[in-house]
Amino acid sequence: MAGPCVPPRLALGHGWFIHHIMLCGDNAVADNLAVDDITLERVESRLTHALAGFKLRDGLFHVLTLAAAWAVLILLGGVIASLVVGSVPAIKAFGVNFLTTESWNPVTEKFGAMAPVYGTIVTSLIAMAIAVPSALGIAIFLTELCPFALRKPIGIAIELLAGIPSIIYGIWGLFVLAPFLQEHVQPELIAAFANVPVLSKLFAGPPYGIGVLTAGIILAVMVLPIVTSISRDVFETVPAVLKEAAYAVGCTTWEVIRSVVIPYTRVGLIGGVMLGLGRALGETMAVTFVIGNAHRISPSLLAPGTTISATIANEFTEAVGDLYTSALILLGLILFVITFIILAISRYMLMRLHRQEGR
């Protein structure tokens, strides 16, 4: 059927499909086609016309999407440029010392980023230490052990966690979690580790309820869904044949997960963890509520601290004076650089995972 309705002169590369539709749209037309040269020419000119239209629209679409892509890049460049320009006064005034100074004194205009940078990194590490093992546990359960009927509900519940606005986590942390920790957990921690050399320093001081540890716990809840859903997705990329082979030679579930699933997905897992870390580093509102907002570096995890984003959120509106504002913008730039590095690493890891899959 297709054969006779494609005259040789019209079978022109990828335009063929269109000719085919136009010519074969009506069987009667198709049957009568083999003949008339004039008719053929007329059809051909109409086709060229139509093709030019398609070309124009294709070109327009190309330009539009290209513009959209460039807009993102320009926006990003604009953000970086304005951060750099805004932080010039602070860079001039403090230089590298900005990173190594703990003092943050708006009265004398002596600013240093060490306390917020320290707080940002420590809260994020606490969050990852809690969230990563639980997330991996959930993902393994969901992909390897969970009955099919339960997979959907648990998966949806995890994703709903990701949809809760961070201010809600903050309020919950301040009104529910912090008082609970203050009354039931922190006094026990302080008493339990009072005579242990290093841990007594880590869990020292009055139980305020809020502080670095509380902020870390809230962050852990917030990054859990990201790490879980990425881990679940990469676990599903493990070819069934690998797992079946392992089971066939008598491996237990634990051995399959440890020796097949995790090694196979290692790179993707690291990418997922990095994405979670990126969120933990930048999280603002929830942390501001529960960290205690003190510009001090304390060895105790129960003591109040601060993070970069919490400092900016707290102080930007009422920052009077150019140097003060500039120091806050410089903090923003530092956070931008830290987050950029983390995201770059995670992208690189994910890229390598895709390459492995291709093999």
Binding site: P106, V107, P304, N314, T317, E318, V320
Partner: protein, 348 residues
């Protein structure tokens, strides 16, 4: 039926549009301090009902307000921390107060009811410096011989966000303690030697309520509305006073406004037996030669109206209206300083 309804409502809309123009409605825009936002909003609402003229006030913070008015993107700026006369002159701005408020220390101690504890400036400064760390410290006991004070650690709670409330508080501590003045100083945000920071009045209130042995400071309005356990203070005259509209007004009345260029007065540690020692006014900034004289004149009309009729509304929200003598001074100042492009005063 529907059609005629539509037609009438359309006609009504057209008329209101027309009359709006006929009355010469000018958009007044203001930006700045968050502390007076509730009362400005309430005044604006009542003013709109009475005159048809609207006011758009954005509470973006004092720092933002100062920046915006210097860039002249708004009709007026608002700040809790007054600018000094030199800075006003340099940026060509006029400054005047609108309402008075104040800070009140609040505590969470078993068995202590509102007003039962008395503190003085030096003791407060030592507590906030972290030098007095327990509630049964001799310095506190001496001021409160009858109170049963526990041997409990003091937890200092301060604002984590920059705020006019903090400015007034640290300004007071600087006046009563040399140590505070040299080690910490006064600003909308300072390097706190001790304690935990909480966001906003509600954050401080919540942390004080939750933590046994805590002490913090709050805006008076917040203390009044939430029945917090406030502390009485000993003022400059050596008298113990409770925070109230009367004691704030006493502080405002005792200040020498006539000799303060730009009304630069921070009402802390004021003399007078009834003065609350941690009071402060909130201020408006307006250019001496406004870019849009019509809008500036409209803004001054609004504040003039607020001084005259807004007192009761301010009291409803636990702000303290200005004394009449001060209002007269402010109006005199407007006539002398704020001028149109032609050099004539905008208001008389």
């Amino acid at each position: 039926m529907t059609f005629s309804f539509l037609r009438t409502s359309f006609a009504a809309a057209a008329i209101s549009l027309l009359t709006g123009h006929a009355a010469g409605a000018v958009d007044i825009s203001g930006a700045g301090a968050t502390f007076p936002f509730p009362i400005y909003a309430k005044w604006a609402d009542a003013y709109k009902k009475e005159t048809g003229n609207g006011l758009n006030y954005q509470s973006i913070g004092s720092g933002g307000g100062i920046k915006q008015i210097k860039a002249k993107t708004v009709t007026f700026g608002a700040t809790d921390m007054p600018l000094e006369a030199a800075e006003l002159a340099a940026s060509g701005l006029v400054q005047f107060p609108t309402v008075i408020g104040g800070d009140v220390p609040v505590v969470n101690l078993n068995g202590i009811k509102p007003g039962e504890l008395v503190l003085d400036g030096p003791a407060l400064a030592k507590i906030f410096l972290g030098e007095i760390t327990s509630w049964d410290d001799p310095a506190i006991k001496k001021l409160n011989p009858k109170a049963k004070l526990p041997s409990q650690a003091i937890v200092v709670v301060h604002r984590s966000d920059g705020s006019g409330t903090t400015f007034i508080w640290t300004n007071y501590l600087s006046k009563v303690s040399d140590d505070w003045k040299t080690k910490v100083g006064a600003s909308t945000a300072v390097e706190w030697p001790t304690g935990i920071g909480a966001k906003g009045n509600e954050g401080v209130a919540n942390n004080v309520t939750q933590t046994k042995g805590a002490i913090g400071y709050l805006e008076y309005a917040y203390v009044k509305q939430n029945n917090m356990t406030y502390v009485d203070l000993i003022n400059k005259a050596g008298k113990a006073v409770a925070p109230s509209a009367e004691s704030f007004q006493a502080a405002a009345a005792s200040a020498d406004w006539a000799n303060a260029p730009g009304f630069y007065q921070i009402l802390t540690d004021e003399p007078g037996p009834k003065s609350w020692p941690v009071s402060g006014a909130t201020f408006i900034l307006i250019p001496k030669v406004p870019g849009d004289p019509a809008a500036a004149a409209e803004a001054l009309k609004f504040f003039s109206w607020a001084y005259e009729k807004g007192g009761a509304m301010a009291e409803d929200l636990a702000y303290v209206p200005l004394p009449q003598t001060l209002v007269a001074l402010i109006k005199k100042n407007w006539a002398a300083e704020i001028k149109g492009a032609d050099g004539k005063p905008l208001v008389n």
